[in-house]
Symmetry: C2
Subunit: 158 residues, 2 copies
DNA sequence: CTACAACCTGTAGCGACTACAGGAGCAATA
DNA sequence: TATTGCTCCTGTAGTCGCTACAGGTTGTAG
């Protein structure tokens, strides 16, 4: 089986498969006489495992650990269980955060009356309430302090 | 106001502020005689706007559009509303996806009896069901086909 | 005078891919 | 046989949104 077949079978991009090989999460496969990669069913299994774990939101370092564990059937599965629990907690906190965002976005959208930007709730919601500077180049006064607020990383990582 | 003050006031990292300037989402500020950046309240407003939008999960290209709109109070706010709606939909689909993940993870975790890896549900759940190859280096037979399954990007982007 | 904090520029790193340039090999068709 | 066109190869750079660091200058307090 060559890389294209494996890609179709697993649903994992060819470039991603080569990337996985490069970072050592997939073993270097045998090569055909023409230099092309040759995969067997064990590789397909491993890749399927990786894909499923990635779909569940595990990052690649967790996947590495899970793969290593999988190959030691006699070891205790405490580590695996711990990783899964951590992942569950991470997913739960993402859901909580996104749910709050959803509410704020719903409010924004539902209150927008589709008129001019000047009275648009979407824009208005985003303008910080602290300074009263109106217009593009106002330079009035300074004001209190922002609070630390929510952690950054949302759209990318969570 | 210099960059450190702006950073404290807005809760945005100094490095991030300079990054925003580099990519042109914040204008190049005036400089003091010693070369240090000098900000006014308009900058603080703009940064506050950006931060809030980022907290709501808008990516920087959307933020750019929203900022541009904000500066044209007479324009129609359809674009802003559209962007917010798209974001709302994206958030809703992320929530839906994460909710499914949560269920699968809960099942994994709750069914793990904390014994050996060999009978660990966490690991077992991840092993693809298609090929029967057991053990690290088995090389049995080939099997049907995976379906396209779920879209990739989860932990990073969604 | 000496610390030390705060700032400066420029560049590289993160995670997990994705894309592309520039080439080789191979099968089917004209 | 030549050509087209697909799949594969390597190596490198780009994506997003930061964050970190090296190596320097400036400003302030003790």
């Amino acid at each position: 089986m060559q890389i294209g077949d494996l890609s179709r079978q697993s649903g994992v991009n060819i470039e991603t498969i080569r990337y996985y090989e490069r970072i050592g999460i997939l073993p270097k496969p045998a090569r055909q006489s023409n230099g092309r990669r040759s995969y067997g069913p064990a590789d397909a299994d491993r890749l399927g495992f990786i894909r499923h774990a990635r779909d569940l939101g595990f990052d690649l370092s967790s996947v590495r650990v899970l793969l290593a564990l999988q190959e030691q059937p006699e070891a205790s599965c405490d580590d695996a269980s711990r990783i899964a629990q951590d992942q569950l907690e991470a997913v739960e906190s993402r859901i909580a955060r996104l749910t709050k965002l959803r509410e704020e976005l719903r409010r924004m959208v539902s209150e927008c009356s589709r008129g001019r930007v000047a009275e648009c709730r979407v824009i208005e919601t985003l303008v910080p309430p602290t300074t009263g500077s109106s217009g593009p180049h106002a330079a009035y006064d300074k004001r209190p302090q922002y609070l630390p607020a929510m952690p950054r990383q949302l759209s990318r990582n969570s």
